[in-house]
Symmetry: C2
Subunit: 212 residues, 2 copies
Amino acid sequence: MEIAIVLFDGFTGLDAIGPYEVLSRVPDATVTFVASTPGLVRADTGRLAVQVDVALADLPAPQVLLVPGGPGQVAAMTDQVLIDWVRAAHRTSTWTTSVCTGSMILAAAGVLDGRRATSHWLALDRLPEFGAEQTLERVVFDGKVVTAAGVSAGIDMALRLAAFIAGDEVAQGIQLMLEYDPQPPFDAGSPTKAPDAIVAKLRSRSRFLRSG
Amino acid sequence: MEIAIVLFDGFTGLDAIGPYEVLSRVPDATVTFVASTPGLVRADTGRLAVQVDVALADLPAPQVLLVPGGPGQVAAMTDQVLIDWVRAAHRTSTWTTSVCTGSMILAAAGVLDGRRATSHWLALDRLPEFGAEQTLERVVFDGKVVTAAGVSAGIDMALRLAAFIAGDEVAQGIQLMLEYDPQPPFDAGSPTKAPDAIVAKLRSRSRFLRSG
């Protein structure tokens, strides 16, 4: 099983590496990072660069495609090579997936038309502009299209995918190898749980997410 | 504040990228990936390569140093440049930290002598060989030395560090930006919670972790 993770400049590192870490451990699956142009792809912080050896054109029909988000998503939505690849790969995929604002890229490719989907909470209300039905769930399955909420939600999505692909026992084994027994020090991981002042502050700073 | 994340061939991607994603968002902090030899550093799967531009020698005294784990930790423990760097950097650090079997590298540098520490659950019982006191907690603070359990535990550790460095509100804001409201599909993330058969199967396969 070929699993392609699409990178682009300005992606958010954990959006991609969380699912990579889970899906790499699915038996008989190969995870490949792909990009419009092979070479170093730099994450949104400017402090992380991942080497991509495979062009989108060289992996046209993966069984699973996964699109991360990040501030670079705005530019990626206008990368016609990337959008055309997503649209074409989705036709033959078993699972078409995104993390965070990667769902905006799926939307730009028409993948979310008429589907329930999620995104980073700060970008969620833009999904209807692309014909999708927004929902504040952490992981949303709609047929073969699976979208995850912001950044860390990709780990939960990938474990659920691993269970669909290889069974619950395999997924539990992966969870145990990654010692994924989360104990966040605060209960502030969702806009419905974080203090109102912190939610408001992040909303006021988030205009970059809305410029796409 | 300089935060150095030490990479070596065979590191586990999420060990490093989880904390990177959290700590990059601490105000006035800079996260830098460092390695014995700059260049592409390949993760344990062989499918992820991170470009490292800064040699250990060029960042001798970060305020925070973080050592991830992974199968490559066995070879890293014999990399004298790396071990000497950890020992020296620890003398002047504010926080000396590890994720997963990265604690074995701290141990090899003498950092854990007489301290409480944790590691990946499959490697935990090796810590006493290095003079450390093992504990199956997810994140262990002992003075300025902080160790996290396997792989995903680095995210929880980094959020706690962010709170110490920049305050609870900043850490909560980071948690919200990363939408870290974990909802794992199974409760199998620790050897005390996973089904016995899965724990036993992973133990039987884990001899590589014990060869160092």
